[in-house]
C-alpha cells in the first residue's frame, strides 16, 4: 500500500504547505500594504535594505569592501539576508562542486538578480579575483559560460550519447541488458534487482528550478549561469574577519579577509565540462587549458626515473580533498620531492601552481607564490594514470608544506564521450584564513 498512498499523502502535505506559505505571504503582503498605505507609498514595494558606505577611491581590500557594500546597497532586505550569512564553520565549509544550485551552498542566486544588481555583483568579483586578461574574473566567467553550454546540451539532450553503449544508452537499468551469470539466479530475480538498484540512491536535491535559470540536469540537477551564488560570510569590512564565497557547478571560490588583508584564497575548486568549446561568435573557450598545460609541461620534463618516483600506486576517480574533506590532508606526502628536481624543473613546478593562485587579486597571489617558492624544496609532485591528462583517472598532485593542488580527468557527465576536469587548490594552513580547526 504505502508507496502510492505515501506519495499522495506527501503531495497533499506539500499542497498544504504551499497553501500555508501562500496564506502567510498574503498576510505578510497585506501587512506591508497596510503599513505602506499608512506612510503614503505604493503598496507593492519591498522593504529597502540597509545602506552601507561606499568609497569609489578605495584601493586593495578596501575597494573589495566598498564594491561589496555597493552591491548590497542594490538589494532589498530579503536579498541582503540571503547574501550576508554568519562566518561560521558550517557556512564556510558548505560549498560544493555539484550542480545542486542553492541547496548545497550559501548565497544569493545570480539568476534572481536584476541587470543592475548583477553588474554590481560582477564588479565585486572583478576586484576580488583580478580584472585583467587571464585573471580570476575571466576564468570564473568562462566557468559560468561552460555551464550554459551544459544547460543547452541538456535541453536539446543531443549530447548524452554514450561512447560504449550505443543501443541502450538511454535505458536506465533496463532489464534487457540484465541477465545472470549464475544458473541459480533466475532471470526475473536479476531483472527486479537491477530495477531496484537504480532507485536506491534517492539523494537528489530536487526543488522547483529558481527563476532566471535554465536547464535541468540528470537527477534534477540544475545547469546554467543563473545557478551561481554569491555570499559574504560575516560583514565585509576593512577591519574584521569575513569571507567571500562565489560558487556553483564546478566552482567554489573562497577568499577570507582579515584586518584588510587576504588571509586565505582557498579552498578553491575549479572544474569544467566541456573542457573546450566554440561559442556562436566563433570564440573558442578552454577555461582550464592554462591550468592543465602547466602540469603537462612539468610532468613532461620528468625523466623516466623521476616519473617512476612520482607515480602513485592508487587510482583516482575524483580529487581526494573535495568538498567536506577540510583538513584531511594525507599525513605522509607522496611522489617525487621537488628538491630532487633541476632548477629548470623547479621553475616549472612554480609555474604549474600559479594559475590556481592567480585566481585571487594580484597582490595576494604574489604573496602566496613567494611562500610557495620558499617551501618548494619540501614540496612533492605525484601522478596517477597517465601523464597526458586525457583519460579518466589521469591525475596530478602538488603537495607542499602549504600548497595542495589536485587535477583529475573524469568521464563526462553530460558529454559522455569525453573527459572533463576537476581540480582543487587548498592550503594546509590557509584554508578559510586558518579560522577553523579540523581535528
Amino acid at each position: 500500500m504505502s508507496k502510492e498512498r505515501t506519495r499522495q499523502v506527501r503531495s497533499r502535505r506539500t499542497r498544504r504547505t504551499i497553501a500555508g506559505a501562500a496564506t502567510a505571504l498574503v498576510l505578510v503582503g497585506g501587512g506591508f500594504a497596510v503599513a505602506n498605505a499608512s506612510t503614503g507609498t505604493s503598496g507593492t514595494q519591498k522593504t529597502a535594505g540597509t545602506q552601507r558606505p561606499v568609497d569609489k577611491n578605495a584601493k586593495g581590500v578596501a575597494a573589495v569592501v566598498s564594491a561589496a557594500n555597493a552591491f548590497l546597497n542594490t538589494l532589498d532586505s530579503d536579498q541582503q539576508s540571503s547574501t550576508l550569512v554568519d562566518f561560521s564553520q558550517a557556512n564556510a565549509t558548505a560549498w560544493s562542486n555539484l550542480p545542486c544550485a542553492g541547496t548545497c551552498r550559501p548565497g544569493i542566486e545570480f539568476g534572481s538578480l536584476t541587470d543592475d544588481q548583477l553588474a554590481a555583483a560582477e564588479h565585486v568579483l572583478k576586484l576580488a579575483l583580478g580584472s585583467g586578461k587571464d585573471t580570476g574574473y575571466e576564468h570564473v566567467l568562462q566557468t559560468l559560460k561552460a555551464d550554459d553550454v551544459l544547460a543547452s546540451a541538456e535541453s536539446t539532450s543531443s549530447a548524452s550519447a554514450g561512447p560504449t553503449d550505443a543501443p541502450s544508452a538511454s535505458a536506465s537499468a533496463s532489464a534487457s541488458d540484465t541477465a545472470s551469470a549464475d544458473p541459480s539466479a533466475t532471470a526475473t530475480d536479476t531483472a527486479t534487482a537491477s530495477a531496484s538498484a537504480s532507485d536506491t540512491p534517492t539523494d537528489t536535491p530536487t526543488g522547483a528550478p529558481p527563476s532566471g535559470g535554465t536547464g535541468g540536469g540528470p537527477g534534477g540537477f540544475s545547469y546554467g549561469s543563473g545557478y551561481y551564488y554569491l555570499a559574504f560570510l560575516g560583514t565585509p569590512s576593512k577591519t574584521g574577519t569575513w569571507q567571500l564565497h562565489f560558487g556553483g557547478h564546478h566552482l567554489a571560490v573562497n577568499i577570507t579577509y582579515k584586518d584588510g588583508k587576504v588571509e586565505g584564497a582557498s579552498p578553491f575548486f575549479t572544474g569544467v565540462e566541456p573542457t573546450s568549446w566554440t561559442a556562436d561568435d566563433g570564440t573558442t573557450y578552454s577555461p582550464l587549458a592554462k591550468f592543465r598545460d602547466g602540469l603537462l609541461k612539468l610532468t613532461g620534463s620528468l625523466s623516466t626515473e623521476q616519473l617512476a618516483e612520482a607515480k602513485l600506486s592508487e587510482s583516482f576517480g575524483d580529487v581526494l580533498l573535495g568538498p567536506g574533506k577540510d583538513g584531511d590532508f594525507p599525513e605522509t606526502k607522496e611522489g617525487i620531492k621537488v628538491s630532487e628536481l633541476s632548477p629548470k624543473q623547479k621553475k616549472l613546478v612554480l609555474a604549474a601552481i600559479h594559475p590556481w593562485v592567480a585566481d585571487v587579486d594580484d597582490a595576494t597571489a604574489q604573496q602566496l607564490m613567494k611562500t610557495y617558492a620558499k617551501e618548494l624544496d619540501e614540496t612533492y609532485v605525484s601522478y596517477s594514470g597517465s601523464t597526458d591528462l586525457t583519460t579518466q583517472g589521469d591525475y596530478v598532485r602538488i603537495d607542499g608544506p602549504s600548497v595542495w593542488i589536485e587535477f583529475v580527468c573524469q568521464n563526462g557527465v553530460v558529454f559522455q564521450d569525453q573527459v572533463h576536469y576537476h581540480t582543487v587548490y587548498r592550503d594546509h594552513t590557509r584554508d578559510y584564513g586558518n579560522e577553523f580547526s579540523f581535528s
Binding site: 508507496k3 502510492e4 505515501t6 506527501r10 502535505r13 530475480d189 536506491t200 534517492t202 581526494l320 580533498l321
Partner: protein, 463 residues
C-alpha cells in the same frame, strides 16, 4: 444502522493511523546521504537473517576494472561466466567480516549479473551485481560485527561504498522496500587507509518483527487484488435468494449478514490453515500452480455470481479455495529465511494483519452489498461486476499459465491504487448507508422492510 458507521469510523481511524506511520517512515527513507561527487559509488545492501547476512553488492564496472584489473566493460552476459571465477576470487580477497572479538565470518560469493543503472548526476553506467552470503561462527551475533570491506576502495581511493540494510526482521524491516543506511566505507585520507565499518544494528526484538508482520499482512491483502476480488465476488450474491437455479429475490438482512459472516469466516479459516501448514512445514510448493488455482477460484466465483453454481454451500467453497490463497500467502514468508521462532511470530502477525484488513474491507463493502441488492438495477450491476471479475480472472489464469497479457497487468496494477480503492469503497459505503437511513426516516406510512419483490428484473439478464 450504527454498526456500519462505527466500522467506517474505525476504518478511517486506521487509515489515518496508517498514514501517520507511513509518512515519517517514508521521509526517513528519503533522507539518503548526500553524494559528494558525480562518480558512482558502490552499494552493499544487507538482508539480515537470524544466523547469516545476505549481501547484494552493486559495483560500477569502470571502477571495478581499475581496482581489480578485471574489465567487464565490453563483457556480455553470456561471457560473464568465463570471468566469474576471477571476480569471485577478487571479491573474497576484499570482504572480511569478523565478530567484534575478531573471529572471521565465512563469505561465499553467489550469483553475478551485469546491468545498467544511474545514480544522482552520474549519467547511466554499467554495474556488476554480486550476491554474497556472510555467515558468522556458530552462536556469534549477526547484529554486531566488524565489516572489513574494501572492494574497489582499496585501489580507487576516491571511491565510496554505502552500506545499507534492506531486510531485518528483528528490527521490523520486512517489506523489502527501501533501505536504511548503516554507514559509509571510504578512505581515511589523513592515513590513506580504509577502516573497517563497525556494524551495530541494535538489539532487535520479536515484538518489532511481529508488528512489522502485521503491517505486511495488511498491505499484502490490500494490494493483492486477486485475494480481495475472490472474497468480494463470493459475497456479491450473498443477500440474494435462489429460485429455480437463478438469483431471484432477496433473503432477509439477517440471513444475508449471516451468510456474509459464514463465507468470510470460512475463507479466513481456509487460508489460515493452509498458511500455517505450508509455512511451518516449510513446504516448497511451486508458485505457478497455486497462483493459477487462485485465478481459477475467482473465475468460479464470478460464474457463481452470475448464476448460482453452489447455492447455500458458498462457505464450503470459500474454505476450500481459501486453502489455495493461504498457500500463496506463505510464499511471502518463505522468502524471508526466518528461524522457527521468528516464523511462528511472523505467522501470527502476518495472519492478523491479513484478517484485520480483510475485516475492514468486508465491513466497508457490507452496506453497499446490502443496499445494492435492493436496487432495481441490481441484476445489471451484479452482472457487470461478475463479468469484469471474470475477465480479470481469465486474464490472470492465462498469465499464470504462461501467457502474459495486458489485461492481467492492468488488473495487477489496480492493487497499487489502494487509496483510490479505499476511497471508492468508503464513498459507496457512505452513500449506501445514507440512502438506507434516508429511506428509513422518510415519513412513509409503510415502514416495513422492502418485502415487495424486486423481481422486476429482466429475465434475460439474470440468466
Amino acid at each position: 444502522m450504527t454498526g456500519p458507521r462505527n466500522w467506517l469510523t474505525t476504518a478511517l481511524l486506521r487509515l489515518v493511523a496508517g498514514i501517520a506511520i507511513a509518512v515519517p517512515a517514508a521521509l526517513l527513507l528519503g533522507a539518503s546521504p548526500a553524494a559528494a561527487h558525480p562518480m558512482p559509488h558502490s552499494v552493499v545492501q544487507l538482508d539480515v537473517y537470524r544466523s547469516s547476512v545476505d549481501a547484494r553488492l552493486e559495483l560500477p564496472v569502470d571502477e571495478l576494472a581499475r581496482a581489480s584489473g578485471i574489465d567487464l566493460t565490453d563483457t556480455t552476459t553470456a561471457q560473464l561466466p568465463a570471468k566469474a571465477k576471477a571476480v569471485r576470487a577478487y571479491l573474497l580477497k576484499h570482504i572480511h567480516p569478523t565478530t567484534t572479538d575478531g573471529r572471521a565470518w565465512q563469505v561465499a560469493i553467489g550469483a553475478l549479473s551485469l546491468s545498467r543503472t544511474q545514480q544522482t548526476s552520474t549519467g547511466p553506467y554499467r554495474e556488476l551485481v554480486a550476491k554474497a552470503v556472510l555467515t558468522p561462527p556458530a552462536g556469534a551475533d549477526v547484529r554486531r560485527f566488524t565489516f572489513d570491506y574494501d572492494v574497489i576502495v582499496h585501489q580507487v581511493v576516491t571511491h565510496v561504498a554505502l552500506v545499507t540494510v534492506r531486510q531485518d526482521w528483528a528490527a521490523g524491516r520486512v517489506d523489502g522496500k527501501g533501505t536504511t543506511q548503516v554507514g559509509t566505507i571510504a578512505l581515511d585520507t589523513r592515513h590513506m587507509t580504509v577502516h573497517a565499518l563497525k556494524v551495530d544494528l541494535g538489539a532487535g526484538s520479536a515484538w518489532r518483527g511481529f508488528v512489522a508482520m502485521v503491517e505486511l499482512g495488511g498491505n499484502h491483502i490490500l494490494t493483492g487484488t486477486d485475494h480481495l476480488l475472490f472474497l468480494l465476488i463470493l459475497l456479491l450474491p450473498a443477500p440474494l435468494a435462489v429460485t429455480a437455479g437463478r438469483w431471484n429475490g432477496l433473503v432477509g438482512a439477517r440471513s444475508a449478514l449471516a451468510r456474509i459472516g459464514r463465507i468470510t469466516l470460512a475463507f479466513t479459516a481456509g487460508h489460515s490453515i493452509a498458511l500455517a501448514v505450508t509455512a511451518l512445514g516449510r513446504l516448497d510448493i511451486p508458485a505457478w500452480p497455486v497462483e493459477a488455482f487462485i485465478a481459477a477460484s475467482i473465475l468460479v466465483g464470478a460464474v457463481h455470481a452470475i448464476r448460482p453454481l453452489f447455492p447455500g454451500r458458498e462457505a464450503v467453497v470459500a474454505g476450500v479455495f481459501g486453502l489455495g490463497h493461504g498457500m500463496a500467502f506463505s510464499f511471502v514468508l518463505a522468502e524471508m529465511h526466518l528461524s522457527t521462532g521468528q516464523l511462528v511470530t511472523s505467522l501470527l502477525g502476518f495472519n492478523l494483519g491479513i484478517e484485520l484488513v480483510q475485516l475492514l474491507l468486508v465491513c466497508l463493502a457490507l452496506p453497499t452489498l446490502l443496499t445494492l441488492a435492493r436496487l432495481s438495477i441490481q441484476p445489471r450491476l451484479r452482472l457487470t461486476g461478475a463479468l469484469l471479475t471474470a475477465t480479470a480472472a481469465t486474464a490472470w489464469l492465462a498469465a499464470r499459465l504462461g501467457l502474459p497479457n495486458p489485461v492481467a497487468r492492468a488488473a495487477d496494477s489496480a492493487g497499487s491504487h489502494t487509496t483510490l480503492m479505499l476511497a471508492a469503497l468508503t464513498a459507496t459505503a457512505l452513500t449506501a448507508t445514507a440512502w438506507t437511513l434516508a429511506k428509513r426516516h422518510l415519513p412513509r406510512p409503510d415502514r416495513t422492510e422492502p418485502a415487495e419483490p424486486t423481481d422486476d428484473h429482466d429475465p434475460a439478464l439474470v440468466g
